[in-house]
């Protein structure tokens, strides 16, 4: 009976306690608070640490898993042209890239589109949030804003180069951004240049480091902005501006080409202008994970097209960047810039911008500006590091252009789709009809059956067109 009495009291007491606020007001009883493991927007731009975390969040999202800027930009453009090839049975996901027949409902082009726009959203949020924020330390404020501008331009750079005209979204307000139609490529470039110009005025030449990683170049600095500007001017064929921007990076004295080629892609590489730090525990870089088998004698999944090794001069030390293995009597050559397949130790970072590319940019710009000796000089800097003799007989612009193509191909293979983008922007060396691009020349030789000029652009993902009818599909796709 004692027990029952106790029970009555307990059961009886609870509802009365619960009923009390019913009379006084129920809001307390319905207040689920804020989620334990989440932050809510208004707080973010009031504190230094949260605002910084919001920028770190962009780098994290980029590196969280395999995605546009973590592997995809190397793999799929590479497979699309004469760079990469699957080693054995073709994975279903790679197939359409090998035949340059992408359906508009392809999951990978959807993923690349959607992830990139989600980074842009994060950048827009930062730009909007930081613009009015007055409780953030000014130096940090500028640094963060500069990074946001850079990352936005960086994202748009890859979007326009893959999809052509893309909606230029600069706001987080979905009621405005949901119906924006495709913006002409040139206007998007204008915005990128604007963003980068803004960023270079905000950022210092030094890198943001932490005591844990004192030498890491994993946050955007002013020279990274310059380096991307150099590339964009090059793509825009603003040769003088490109050469000037590249010069500023090269002459800053912060970067130098690693003489030991196995050092180039390490976390402490001195030629790195910007690297993204791996966050996944599973692998160092997506490229390393993709190209290097776990087993030292294992067969790689993706290999290099034969032509790359074929065109490499015998003395080229960059052969160290190719891994050759013989499995069941068959030889496989795969990219070996990154050496590590798995997660620990954390010794390789995702190389985003590096000095060698700046030399290539300057060389190309100088060729176009008709400064052939200076251009050859830049190429020779890279060749010297690769253990090769200086170029001779570069007497005409045509030859110089061929030399630049050769050098860019040998230096930048299996990195961020450089080859694919270069082929798309270069005119054909012997155009059979006007406007023909280098890509048509190469691909008509490589895949005569399937290549179509319209394949230079990926289709706009069909679901995006469904949800924003203002978008119009690229030519050659339905």
């Amino acid at each position: 009976m004692q027990l029952f009495r106790l029970l009555y009291k307990c059961v009886f007491a609870v509802p009365f306690v619960a009923a009390l606020p019913l009379i006084t007001g129920c809001n307390k009883l319905l207040d689920a608070g804020e989620p334990d493991n989440k932050v809510v927007t208004p707080q973010v731009y009031k504190s230094d640490s949260l605002a910084q975390a919001a920028v770190i969040g962009i780098y994290f999202k980029i590196m969280q898993s395999v995605g546009p800027f973590n592997g995809y930009m190397t793999r799929f453009p590479g497979l699309s042209c004469d760079e990469l090839f699957p080693a054995s049975t073709t994975l279903i996901q790679d197939q359409p890239f090998l035949t340059n027949t992408l359906p508009s409902n392809n999951n990978l082009i959807w993923q690349i589109w959607t992830s990139t726009y989600s980074y842009i959203y994060q950048c827009n949020d930062l730009v909007e949030g930081l613009t009015g924020a007055n409780s953030i330390t000014p130096a940090l404020h500028d640094q963060l804003l500069g990074e946001a501008y850079f990352l936005r331009a960086f994202s748009y750079f890859y979007l326009v180069n893959q999809y052509g005209d893309v909606p230029l979204v600069l706001s987080t307000d979905y009621t405005q951004s949901a119906s924006i139609p495709r913006t002409p490529v040139d206007d998007v470039y204008k915005q990128m240049i604007g963003d980068l110009t803004e960023a270079q005025s905000l950022l210092p030449n030094s890198y943001v480091t932490t005591p844990e990683f004192p030498a890491a170049r994993v946050r955007v600095n002013r020279l990274a902005v310059k380096a991307l500007l150099a590339r964009i001017y090059l793509y825009q064929e603003k040769w003088a501006l490109a050469a000037a921007a590249a010069s500023e990076v090269i002459e800053s004295g912060i970067y130098q080409l690693e003489t030991d080629l196995s050092q180039s892609f390490r976390y402490d590489s001195r030629e790195a202008i910007l690297q993204f730090m791996p966050v996944s525990d599973i692998f160092n870089t997506a490229e390393g994970n993709m190209f290097v088998p776990v087993n030292p004698n294992g067969r790689p999944g993706i290999i290099l097209c034969d032509s790359i090794l074929k065109y490499m001069e015998p003395a080229d030390k960059r052969k160290a960047w190719v891994r050759t293995v013989t499995v069941s009597g068959k030889q496989y050559n795969s990219p070996y810039k990154y050496k590590l397949n798995a997660g620990t130790p954390r010794e390789e970072y995702n190389m985003v911008l590096r000095l060698a590319e700046q030399y290539c940019i300057r060389a190309e710009a100088r060729v176009m500006l008709d400064q052939l000796p200076e251009a050859v000089n830049d190429l020779n800097t890279i060749r010297k590091r690769a253990g090769l003799a200086n170029l001779a007989n570069i007497t005409t612009q045509t030859r110089a252009i061929a030399a630049i193509e050769q050098e860019r191909r040998m230096e930048l293979f299996a990195e961020w789709g450089h080859r694919w983008f270069d082929l798309k922007r270069w005119p054909a060396s012997r155009p059979t009809h006007p406007g023909e691009k280098r890509i048509d020349e190469v691909m008509n030789a490589l895949r005569p059956a399937t290549w179509k000029t319209t394949a230079v652009l990926w289709p706009i993902p069909s679901t995006e067109i469904t949800s924003n009818p203002a978008l119009i599909q690229n030519k050659g796709y339905n």
Binding site: F16, A18, V169
Partner: protein
């Protein structure tokens, strides 16, 4: 096991005690005795009478003086039902004709006095005393006494809220009646606490109640589907513990485009022992298993269903609340209906222990017929020929590297086993009028037909006690349910391995090692699937306590508190040995935990009264508060190079951790008023105000209400007490839906799971809309109930539910940063339909037959969707059509010249309905003496996607005909034999090709997007047959047991369906098929 429920059966106990002295005392004799006296005095010589008529006699009060002929008219004048004739001293007694009874009605009317006492023998004022056919009633006065004119043929009905109703057939009595009322079954009172109306005559609500059979078939959801019209709960797999798909009067919510066909938020509210079931119908596991992806949208999410932790043998009743009037009490969460599950309760009986054991074995139902080796090879060669490609070792290892004479039937290999199930259960209960106690315990295990040790096991313990104080002021009880389920599954759907090329190599070598290639042609060994194991351990703890306190006569305070925790823990082990060693595999290991914790409090005040002695009033004022916490995390370790070390974190090469926590609070206050005028007219009103933490602070609260009315417009009573009536009822009301996920109104940021440069980043979780509001469903319903002599019972219900202010996950282009946003949208979905529940029972001597039919004809329609054409839903929805459709073109067959699928007009838009046209079940029970035979047929008229659409949507390992993938899972259904081969062929299926791009591949879209994709999947299935034998009482008595029975039961014996290739219930070809089970069982009560 035969507990009598208070809801339906009003068995009464009438005790007639000697009352106070009243009318003049006259000695009382029975008619038989009087006749005996007359015989002995020689007044009559012989009596001619049928014994059965003597039962109609009433006592004789006539003074037996003088003893002569003149007595007889006086005696029979007082007999209401009998008359006599006297011929030559021979007395013949016959029953009166109807007309005679009618003529003498007035004479037999008399005023009777009586007293109504409560269960503790105290006078009960305010009780209703009514004549059933006369519809005239009086209430008892302060001393519990009443005074009423009682007519012959009429039945006196005494009722009082909370007590069992007593019926007394007409009798001639010169003494006052003393009627003692008994309290209703304790369960009934708990039901009243929750406020819903039970299935009683006076109810205005549509409530279906299922008393779970002593030997239930299958799981909780199957029991619901088999007994309640309008509910469809097909399993998603033949695997024990897998989630069900569920539909209850059609979808009310649209949800995101991607989830449209899955109705993510149209799940009803499940309440188990008073506590909202937190996971609803979503799987509780987080890691991918052989039944599917638990994180997928809506009901595409398939995984472990926590209802598996509930033993059906522990369930007493399942109550399904359908219309607005019934669901109003659950207001804001009742938009999709409410299903209440109540576990068993103690009874007020002598101690009894029931032990039941059953054992069964099952074989897989047939699946699709695949090609044999010669058909397969011919198809592959033809595909190469069609493409003008020469087969090479790289693109045709099956043709060039492997033995082309071999035949391996992978389907047979995988599904040829026998599944076993074992169930052991005991139940002990004891009680008296004050204290009742129950203890149940059970163990069950089920295995699968696969050649691997796949199982689901469950241990359960249920304890319930209730107590009532002697002064009847307080009643309290507590029930505790604790169960643990342990399931061993695989991490991947092994059914895809049925597609292995039929000339694949042997699976193992002589030493038992797995083989992965032959002559350089590698394939995925089906045995590899069985090395990838997934263990799910789910515990379920459910505590529910209630208290009722009678403040004064008419007012009662009641409260209930509940606590529940469902905790699912998972371990998945994928060793590197499960893969081809040449592919450089590593092992991985995953752990996950998902915990739901629910608290709830439900206080209420209940008032009962009668107004002007005509109208019974019940009023409830109550509140409900609940808090649901969900805490989940998962960690996956990958890169194990040594299988021995699998599971040791430090041996992994990397790991990923994910976690999520959320809180959901719900508060409501409600009032309900029920009026009953002379047991003929009924009215009920409910009003409530609900708040949910899932909405922004400005839109948290909303008001809901319902009104219901009932009218018994025809009623008859038989002499033997059987009741016939016809009732009309109607209800209208609004309910809400807040199934939109927690915190969706907040602009939240997630924290990065790993640091970047030593710092933890944050990133936006999604676009937020702080202004969305409740989704509202207005329900209109009318029903007709007809009951004839307790033999035939039918309810026909028509309803129209309109759900508006749809919270849709409005699809946005990803250029906004995210793909969707939750917002209210002026779209209206209408669900109309007719439901029929009919039952019939009759017995002829030792033979009895009962039959029960459930039938539902639902119709779902999108009434309004503004600017549908320009919205992201334009390819998925059509105004005026059901929401669950496939929009496509008219299929025009295979072009005999090109061999490709064609459609009439590629821009045509035809809506092809996926939901059933009608469905239901028919249960028949035949009983002869001790033997009982039950059959249950299930039927459904519907269309379903052709099973080949699973091949053509090649998301998985299955591929369009002619192609091969990495795993060499490239076999095709034998049905493709009827394919186009050469120009001029009239074929059903188009030509085969090895290419995954090009005209053949493009033409597949013609078929997939056409009406040919949907085929007739109607079926009639003998779901269950059960033959039982109950041992005779004598047999049991001799062995000192209270009862024993045994049965044989068979599931899925036969199916009639035009559907080929997939089960019409499951509809998908690649889920583990259902089984044909035979179970034998024994039940002993000690």
């Amino acid at each position: 096991m035969k507990k009598v429920l208070g809801y339906l059966v009003m068995v009464c106990c009438i005790s007639i005690a000697r009352g106070q002295d009243g009318d003049p005392v006259v000695p009382e004799h029975t008619l038989e005795k009087v006749i005996k006296i007359l015989k002995s005095k020689g007044v009559i010589k012989a009596v001619v009478v049928d014994k059965k008529y003597m039962k109609l006699a009433v006592p004789v009060y006539v003074p037996l003086q003088p003893v002569n002929d003149s007595l007889l008219p006086r005696i029979f004048a007082d007999q209401p039902f009998l008359t006599y004739s006297l011929i030559a001293n021979h007395l013949s007694i016959t029953p009166k004709s109807k007309a005679e009874i009618e003529a003498s009605r007035a004479y037999f009317e008399y005023r009777i006095r009586g007293f109504v006492l409560n269960d503790s023998a105290n006078p009960l004022p305010g009780a209703s005393v009514q004549l059933r056919s006369g519809r005239y009633g009086v209430p008892t006065k302060s001393g519990g006494d009443f005074n009423i004119v009682w007519t012959i043929d009429d039945t006196l009905e005494v009722s009082y809220v909370g007590y069992k109703t007593v019926q007394i057939p007409w009798r001639s009595s010169h003494k006052p009646l003393v009627i003692r009322l008994e309290l209703q079954d304790p369960n009934m009172e708990v039901a009243v606490v929750k406020g819903y109306s039970s299935k009683e005559k006076g109810s205005t609500a549509n409530v279906s109640q299922v008393k779970v059979a002593p030997v239930p078939n299958g799981d909780v959801l199957r029991i619901i589907q088999e007994n309640v019209s309008g509910i469809l709960a097909p399993p998603s797999s033949g695997l024990a513990g897998a989630t069900h798909r569920f539909q209850f009067r059609g979808p009310t919510s649209l949800g995101a485009v991607s989830e449209l066909n899955y109705r993510p938020s149209s799940s009803p509210l499940f309440v188990v022992n008073g506590i909202p079931w937190a996971p609803a119908l979503r799987p509780v596991n987080q890691l991918t298993t052989m039944v599917g992806e638990p994180q997928a949208p809506g009901s595409a999410a398939t995984g472990f269903d926590p209802f598996f932790t509930i033993n059906p043998l522990d369930i007493e009743t399942i109550t399904v609340l359908k219309d607005a009037e019934a669901t109003a009490i659950y207001g804001a969460r009742g938009a999709n209906g409410v299903i209440l599950i109540t576990t068993k309760k103690g009874t007020s009986k002598e101690p009894r222990l029931t032990v039941s054991v059953s054992y069964g074995a099952g074989k897989s139902l047939p699946t699709m017929q695949l090609m044999n080796t010669s058909q397969y090879l011919a198809m592959r060669r033809e595909a190469f020929k069609n493409d003008n490609i020469t087969p090479t070792a790289a693109n045709a290892p099956d043709l060039l590297l492997w033995d082309t004479t071999r035949y391996f039937d992978a389907t047979k290999f995988l599904l040829n086993g026998t599944a076993n199930n074992l169930n052991e259960h005991f139940s002990f209960s004891q009680g008296d009028s004050l204290f009742q106690f129950l203890l149940n315990g059970g163990f069950g295990s089920q295995t699968s037909v696969l050649p691997s040790n796949i199982y689901g096991k469950r241990w359960s313990l249920l304890s319930d006690f209730s107590y009532r104080s002697k002064n009847r002021k307080i009643k309290t009880g507590l029930s505790a349910y604790v169960s643990v389920a342990e399931n061993k599954w695989l991490t991947e759907n092994v059914m895809y391995a049925t597609l292995l090329a039929p000339n694949a190599p042997e699976l193992t070598d002589g030493a038992g090692h797995l083989i992965w290639e032959e002559n350089g042609g590698s394939f995925r060994n089906p045995l590899g699937y069985f090395l990838k194991n997934d263990y799910i351990t789910t515990s379920n703890t459910l505590l529910h306590a209630y208290l009722q306190y009678k403040i004064f006569r008419k007012l009662r305070f009641e409260t209930a508190v509940g606590f529940q925790q469902i905790h699912a823990e998972e371990k998945s082990k994928i060793p590197s040995s499960a893969f081809d060693p040449a592919s450089d595999p590593t092992g991985s290991y995953g752990e996950a935990s998902n915990r739901f914790t629910t608290f709830m409090v439900e206080p209420g005040l209940h008032y009962t009264d009668s107004l002007w002695q005509q109208i019974q009033v019940q009023a409830v004022l109550g509140a409900f508060w609940s808090s649901q916490l969900n805490d989940q995390w998962s960690q996956t370790y990958s890169g194990y190079t040594n299988d021995e070390l699998l599971g040791i974190p430090s041996a992994a090469n990397g790991s990923e951790y994910k976690s999520d926590k959320s809180k959901y609070l719900f508060l409501s206050t409600f009032g309900r008023l029920k009026l009953n005028y002379r047991n003929k007219y009924f009215l009920s009103l409910t009003l409530r105000r609900d708040g949910s933490s899932r909405f922004g602070p400005a839109d948290r609260y909303a008001n809901f209400g319902a009104i219901g009315a009932g009218w018994i417009f025809w009623e008859r009573n038989n002499k033997n007490g059987a009741n016939s009536y016809a009732k009309f009822r109607a209800s209208y009301g609004s309910t809400g839906n807040d199934q939109i996920g927690d915190y969706a109104y907040l602009n939240t940021w997630n924290t990065a799971s790993r640091p970047y440069q030593g710092l933890y980043g944050i990133y936006p979780a999604g676009l937020a809309n702080p202004y969305y509001q409740w989704e509202i469903t207005r329900k209109l319903e009318a029903g007709l109930e007809l009951r004839i002599n307790d033999n035939f019972n039918t309810t026909i219900t028509g309803y129209r539910n309109r759900s508006r202010n749809q919270i849709i996950t409005y699809l946005l282009p990803y250029q906004t940063g995210f793909g969707d946003i939750a917002r209210n949208f002026p779209a209206i979905i209408q669900n109309t339909g007719v439901e029929v529940d009919a039952s019939f029972k009759k017995s002829w001597g030792n033979f009895s037959w009962s039959s029960k039919l459930t039938l539902a004809i639902p119709q779902n329609k999108l009434l309004r969707f503004d600017d549908l054409e320009n919205s992201s839903y334009s390819n998925k929805l059509m105004i005026g059509k059901p929401t669950n459709i496939i929009i496509g073109q008219h299929f025009t067959g295979v072009d005999s010249a090109t061999g490709l699928f064609t459609v009439a007009d590629p821009n045509e838009k035809l809506a092809n309905k996926l939901d059933p046209v009608f469905f239901g079940g028919l249960r028949n029970t035949f009983r002869y003496k001790q033997v009982e035979l039950t059959t249950y047929f299930e039927f459904r008229q519907q269309k379903a996607p052709h099973y080949l659409s699973d091949f053509y949507n090649s998301n998985n390992n299955n591929l369009p005909a002619g192609q091969i993938n990495n795993d060499l899972s490239s076999n095709q259904p034998a049905e493709l034999e009827n394919r186009w081969r050469k120009s001029g062929d009239e074929a059903t299926w188009q030509k085969v090709s090895t290419r995954n791009a090009g005209p053949v591949q493009n033409a597949i879209n013609n078929w997939v997007n056409s009406d040919a994709r949907l085929v007739n999947a109607s079926y009639l299935r003998l779901k269950n047959v059960q033959l039982g034998y109950t041992f005779p009482d004598k047999f049991c008595r001799n062995r000192h047991i209270k009862g024993t029975s045994m049965y044989v039961s068979a599931d899925n014996l036969f199916t009639i369906t035009p559907l080929k290739g997939a089960d019409p219930e499951l509809q998908v070809p690649f889920s583990l098929p259902l089984q044909r089970n035979i179970t034998i069982g024994l039940q002993v009560t000690l």
